[in-house]
Amino acid sequence: MMRQSQATVLQKTQQVRAAQQPQSRHHQQPSGGSRPAVTATRPAAAPNAERFENRLKKPTTFLCKHKFRNELPDPSSQLKWLPLNKDKDRYTKYRITSLEKNYIPKMIVPEDLGIPLDLLDMSVYNTPPVQPPMAPEDEELLRDDEVLTPVKKDGIRKKERPTDKGMSWLVKTQYISPLSTDAAKMSITEKQAKERRESREGRNTFLENINDREKQIKAIEDSFRAAKSRPVHQTKRGMEAEWVLPLLPDFDRYDDQFVMVNFDGDPTADSEQYNKLERSERDECESRAVMKSFLVNGSDPAKQEKFLAYMVPSPHELSKDLDDETEDIQYSWLREYHWEVRGDDKDDPTTYLVTFDDDGAKYLPLPTKLVLQKKKAKEGRSGDEIEHFPVPSRITVSRTAHGGMMEHGESSSMHENLKRQRSSVDDDLYDHPKHSRVEDMDQYSGDEYSD
């Protein structure tokens, strides 16, 4: 109700004068007496019924006429309101606002960061063969006071179940989740790439993990002092070394990549031709085997199948010298494998190959393990998905000046079914196994022969 009256007041005030604001108090009005003439005439008039019922107009001895009133206030009696906010342009004229005072200009970086890569003239960025020493100011730019905690990206590892020669009837458990496999592969791939880049730079990850430059220097000096001291047994301190051999990297082979390959069976067992050979001759053939990865496009373009091919030189080719560039050696395509890459963290290898010589022991990291399964052994797959393609009738491997690139031979069917594509994994798998034989038939390690 109060709001109603206020609204009423609002409209009431507006009606009097638009220019004049709230009205003033209504002061005393002049008293209006009754009109004598009216009363004088009234007694003479004959009263009628209606008038008699209206008490206000009933003639009485008491002389008083009740008059209704509607006195308006004086039109000029209201106080005058002066508008408080007179400036019409107070919100439209230009003013320096708090937005401008507090505006912080942005750093606008050129799209090329101010470093033009002009292919029209690449000579500017050709590195000179002899690098001058780095300027001290530039060294200062490269120094970081704060070091972030290194994050190791470990993929999902699978521990290999130990197998004995005599228990070949046990089938390894197959973990069939594709997610973990892909994750592991991706993870390893990144690690491989990182390791390779770092190894080419000659950087040492271990040293870089030390937080401070001074500490790094001190650690290096400590390691030198530790290397010169005589080694002692870890638990039996009383024992003395009979002789001491220095443990050094195998510098001759350190830049080569070695992979340990696990076979699920004797690779030449399925071939009748090789089964007839004597053990020694067969071993000789296997030591010269070549493995190469391939990628096949099937009926589904989105789905590609990759496999590893195992090729062995023909028995009659053993007399040839592989290093003779003028001769072509003929190979037999024996089997296809599905392969799976496992292994240690490339930044922290735990598996090494150690060779003992007279003048010292030499070691090589052996971080990668390749686990092979025969391609046709996967029965779980649908028959429609397995596409059979004709096996090449003959394969010839020849060495060229550009490296171990395999060229297609006389078989024309190879072109129709096989398409080679580059990938970092393919390079790892291209091996020339050396002539060596591990006693355990289930494990075969290939070694690339040197030129």
Binding site: M1, T8, V9, Q11, K12, T13, Q14, P22, Q23, S24, R25, H26, P30, S31, P36, A40, T41, E53, R55, L56, T60, F62, H66, F68, R69, N70, L72, D74, P75, S76, S77, L79, K80, L82, P83, L84, N85, K86, Y91, L99, E100, K106, M107, V109, P110, L113, G114, I115, P116, L117, L119, L120, Y125, N126, Q131, P133, L141, L142, R197, S424
Partner: protein, 1069 residues
């Protein structure tokens, strides 16, 4: 002078070609190159020279020939050179695609892709081809493909310098486009690592490479190292614009005076080195804008706009132009540039300033919808920006959405409690709907201004004073007006040092000689224009304080200085009207009409005055109509006055005809209704309609209307409306609710008129008259006579009330003598009143004439005669009553005497009874004495027995037992009479008990009749022992003995017959 030597085929000669004199037509040089089968690297050198000289077409011609089918045929074995040419062509198209518009851009990108594809077919492993692809993908903003391309190169050669730079820039751009801050930092970190590797791979690389390190550090928040890197770049290359501008930005970002100065200095250096650096141009324009050099701002900004396609940079440039025009007042141009600035950015977060400017321009053009949208954009970025909020509140107020405006300004006051502008806006918005809150806000604004040391605007003080005035707080209002006006000539008027003399009082209102004389005497009369209105309000306040002298002086001062201020004439006319000087009032209104003969207020006021005259009431209608016409029908005041005039005309006595009456009332109703249609809350129109219904005796409708108006008026401080109270009281009177009518009249008198209105007192008196409350009627009329002594109508009514009172008293069946006497005196007074009135009746200006008065006098005389008869009868009745009372009194006295006599007889009877009782008591006492004597005689016998028992004890034990029992009885009697034997009593106590037991045993074999007697005696004796044991003090012991004696006397007669028999038995035993 550089030259190339083209070997001639088949010979050992060479053709020397000067590079600065290449032929204008590339075909000439192409013919030589083809004919001689020159090595392809010479083709590339010549093409590059054409490019450096700006001859793009010749450059393209040579490269396209150099990569044509013929080259594939003749130079099949030369791979690297062919790839180099294709890469150069691809880079060329990449560059064109970068700078061209949308349609051409795609064409060039396609061409570049084809060149790189052909190069890949030649040698898939060539790094430069992949670097070219990466560059193309960067320009196309396909960062992932670019990254893949650079990685292919780096996988082969981790130290490939261009690939490192490319991959690093890709990571940086990925960081820029990444939304998550953490991931972005990772990208920047990767980018930094790659730039470091690049620097290690090429220690003497160009200076610009360190820019990458600097920018990455900046993005990672390592400001010091970023500065260090930028300074290193400048150390190696003092004219590197990017480093210079970056350092300048970092200085400006400190937002300190020193930093800003250093930043602007660096910007100026950058501008001097390269006049087309957009960032430097923008910042210099900003600087010159603040120094007011608009021409320089325009020049710099136009250059900036033509030298960059970067959206944000162009937005800045347009904004600087817009600001320049805005501050110069060119609103339309400023609006266009603000719009252009806004269109260059994708979201307000990028650059919010032009939205504010655009909102201001749109508000200027009253495009409220667009302006509101613009300011809302600013609030998206800065939700608590008070400037935008106030602008939005202003827009709502302009659009009529007061609630939203009020809410918005309240939000501003919450965010910034010291913003006095927001409080003033709120006060002005609320002054109509919520004056109390408006008062608070205005006071807050005043306090804030006072604390800030700023000058308080006169409008603010005037507003506060006005609200105090309307609220009835006149002293507070005066204080505000005084503060608003400050010092001036008016101060001397206020404190009475000027104009308070008696001489001034007699000066005519229209006479200005007073002020002229003051000026001649040297008193300065200064009245600034902005203080006139407040002075008017102050004068109006003096009117309300009934200080009309000061009010008049103020009004006349205003007229003296500003003769056209019409309202002052009207206020002076109102003062004259209050003093009943209608002639002067009309003259003053005439003066006002001379200034503006169409001024509605003056015409309305003139009409109101004319309405009161019998000869001029018809003219009033003309003036009301003129006022209405002057305002083109929008003046509701004049319409209301016309309505009131019609009502007045309908009630005129001389034309008493129903037809005229109905016509006027219909006209009045029409006018009132029209006003209500325009303003639904107009209380005067509603009151008028209520009056019309009341005239038709439709009480319920009229009461409803008056009640609503009454409630509305009660809730307002801007409208004082006593009329509706009076009208409502009239309705109650008409309906016979006299008590409520009395209440309403009294409340109205007290609230609005300080109980000093004679007319309302007359209404009140008649209500008492109708309610037959004669005494109240008379009292009220007497008060009215005090207020209006010359109103003879009131005196007539007093006589009538006296007459009525007397008549009603005489009509009673029983009357007291005092009542009759009062009636007689009242009638005598009435006769005197009427006789006095007959002298004045010659004027014929009242509601009565001589004949009516004579009638009343005759009637009163008649009543008086009757009253006297009644008085005599009453007196006789009183006499008889007195006699009866006297007789009754005597009878009462006689009864009283008789009652007393009877009381005396009863008293005597009682005395005799008492005497008889006394005699009986004396007889009993004598009897007690005889008993005592007998007790003394019997006391000797126990003594003898005692002696006898002693002798027997000496003789034998068996006999001792029997004798001991007897001794116990004697001891008791002895104790009763002789106190000195107490010691004996104690000695014999244990023996007494034994004897009692022996007595019981001896009786077992004896007679049955004797046993009960022994038991009773034993019981009595036992009681005595108990009483005796209670003795204490000697005196109390004596008293107890007396009681025991008296009690024993009572017991003794009962025991006496028993004892002799017991004694005999003992003796016989």
């Amino acid at each position: 002078m550089a030259s190339v030597y083209i070997p001639v085929q088949g010979t050992e000669e060479e053709v020397r070609v000067a590079l600065d004199q290449l032929p204008a037509d590339a075909s000439d040089i192409l013919d030589i190159l083809k004919a001689e089968q020159a090595p392809l690297h010479l083709w590339l050198i010549i093409a590059r020279e054409y490019f450096k000289q700006g001859k793009i077409e010749q450059f393209r011609q040579i490269l396209e020939e150099g990569s044509g089918p013929e080259i594939d045929e003749y130079y099949a074995d030369v791979k690297y050179e062919r790839i180099a040419i294709l890469n150069a062509l691809g880079a060329f198209h990449t560059f064109l695609g970068k700078v061209e518009r949308a349609q051409q851009k795609e064409v060039h990108f396609k061409e570049a892709t084809q060149c790189y594809n052909r190069a890949s077919r030649i040698d898939e492993t060539e790094p430069s081809t992949w670097i070219g692809r990466g560059q193309l993908c960067v320009v196309k903003h396909d960062l992932q493909m670019a990254s893949d391309s650079f990685k292919i190169v780096l996988d082969e050669d981790g130290s490939n310098f261009p690939a490192l730079l490319g991959q690093a820039s890709v990571y940086f751009l990925m960081g820029d486009s990444e939304q998550q801050h953490k991931k972005a930092l990772d990208y920047y970190r990767n980018s930094l690592d790659l730039y470091k590797r690049a620097l290690r791979a090429y220690t003497s690389c160009p200076a610009a490479v360190r820019l990458g390190i600097a920018f990455c550090r900046y993005k990672l928040g390592q400001s010091d190292k970023a500065r260090q890197a930028f300074q290193r770049v400048l150390q190696l290359d003092p004219e590197n614009i990017d480093a210079l501008v970056a350092l300048a930005i970092m200085d400006l970002q400190t937002n300190e005076a020193g930093g800003i100065r250093r930043g602007m200095e660096k910007m100026r250096r950058a501008f001097e080195i390269y006049p087309y650096c957009t960032l430097a141009l923008n910042h210099l324009a900003n600087h010159y804008f603040f120094t007011g050099q608009h021409f320089v701002v325009e020049q710099l900004t136009e250059t900036a706009l033509s030298s960059s396609n970067h959206g944000l940079l162009k937005s800045h440039a347009f904004y600087n132009l817009a600001r320049s025009y805005h501050s110069k007042g060119d609103i339309e141009t400023a609006g266009r540039y603000y719009m252009a600035s806004v269109n260059e950015i994708s979201k307000p977060q990028d650059f919010v300033l032009p939205f504010f400017g655009l909102g201001q321009i749109q508000l200027k053009f009253a495009d409220y919808k667009s302006s509101l949208a613009s300011f809302e954009k600013v609030l998206e970025v800065h939700p608590e920006n008070c400037e935008s909020l106030k602008a939005i509140g202003h827009i709502y107020a302009k659009s009529g959405e007061n609630d939203k405006a009020i809410e918005t300004f309240k939000k501003v006051t919450r965010i910034d409690p010291k913003d006095h502008q927001a409080f003033m806006e709120l006060g002005e918005l609320l002054v109509q709907s919520d004056w109390a809150t408006a008062m608070e806000y205005l006071k807050t604004a005043r306090n804030l201004l006072k604390k800030a040391g700023e000058k308080i605007p006169i409008e603010l003080l005037n507003g506060i004073g006005l609200l105090h005035f309307e609220k009835g707080e006149l002293e507070m209002a005066e204080q505000s007006f005084k503060e608003a006006l400050g010092d001036g000539f008016w101060v001397s008027i206020i404190d009475g040092s000027v104009g308070s003399s008696v001489v001034n009082w007699s000066i005519q209102y229209r006479d200005q000689s007073f002020f002229q004389q003051l000026e001649e005497e040297g008193t300065p009369l200064e009245l600034p224009w902005d203080k006139v209105t407040t002075l008017f309000n102050y004068a109006r306040l003096f009117e309300e304080l009934h200080d009309t002298v000061k009010a008049s002086l103020f009004y006349r001062l205003i007229i003296f200085k500003y003769p056209d201020y019409i309202d002052t004439y009207l206020r002076l006319a109102a003062i004259a009207k209050e003093k009943n000087n209608l002639q002067l009032s009309i003259e003053l209104i005439g003066d006002a009409l001379k200034i503006d003969d169409k001024y509605p207020n003056a015409l309305s006021m003139l009409g109101s005055l004319e309405l009161q005259g019998d000869e001029t009431w018809l003219t009033a209608k003309e003036h009301f109509r003129e006022a209405k016409d002057a305002s083109e029908g929008k003046d509701t005041y004049s319409m209301l006055q016309l309505g009131n005039w019609n009502y007045f005309a309908a009630n005129r006595p001389e034309k008493k005809a129903p037809k005229f009456e109905a016509t006027h009332r219909e006209k009045a109703k029409e006018l009132y209704s029209n006003v209500l249609k325009q303003h639904h809350g107009n209380m005067f129109a509603a009151n008028g309609i209520g009056i019309l219904y009341a005239e038709k005796a439709q009480w319920d409708i009229a009461k409803e209307l008056f009640t609503q108006v009454h409630e509305a008026a009660s809730g307002s401080i801007f409208v004082q409306m006593p009329d509706v109270w009076i009208n409502l009281a009239h309705i109650y009177f008409a309906q016979g609710f006299f008590q409520q009518a009395v209440k309403m009249y009294q409340n109205c008198l007290r609230k609005f008129f300080y109980n000093t209105d004679a007319t309302i007192l007359l209404y009140l008196a008649r209500t008492h008259y109708e309610a037959e409350q004669w005494q109240d009627c008379r009292k009220t009329l007497l008060r009215a006579i005090h207020l209006a002594p010359s109103n003879y109508l009131l005196r007539f009514n007093v006589g009538v009330s006296m007459q009525k009172f007397s008549a009603s008293t005489l009509q009673k069946t029983k009357r007291t003598v005092d009542e009759v006497r009062a009636t007689v005196s009242e009638l005598q007074n009435a006769i005197r009143v009427f006789s006095l009135l007959s002298v004045a009746s010659t004027y014929h200006s009242h509601g009565f004439d001589e004949r009516k008065i004579e009638t009343h006098i005759e009637y009163c005389k008649h009543l008086l005669d009757a009253a006297k008869v009644h008085r005599d009868a009453a007196e006789q009745a009183e006499q008889q009553n007195k006699q009866k009372m006297e007789v009754a009194r005597q009878i009462a006295l006689a009864d009283e005497a008789r009652r007393k006599a009877e009381e005396q007889r009863k008293a005597q009877l009682e005395r005799r009874k008492q005497e008889d009782e006394l005699k009986q008591v004396m007889q009993q006492e004598q009897h007690f004495e005889r008993v005592k004597e007998q007790w003394k005689t019997s006391s000797n016998t126990p003594g003898k027995r005692k002696d006898r028992s002693k002798h027997e004890d000496e003789e034998g034990g068996g006999e001792k037992r029997r004798k001991k029992g007897g001794r116990r009885r004697k001891d008791q009697k002895t104790k009763a009479h002789y106190g000195e034997e107490e010691e004996d009593e104690y000695r014999d106590e244990p023996e007494a008990e034994d004897d009692y037991a022996n007595t019981a045993r001896s009786n077992d074999g004896g007679d049955s009749e004797k046993a009960p007697g022994h038991l009773l005696a034993a019981a009595g004796l036992e009681d005595s022992d108990a009483e005796e044991d209670d003795m204490g003090h000697p005196q109390s012991a004596i008293e107890r003995k007396r009681r025991a004696w008296s009690e024993s006397e009572d017991d003794e007669p009962v025991q006496r017959p028993v004892q002799p028999s017991a004694g005999e038995n003992d003796l016989s035993d």
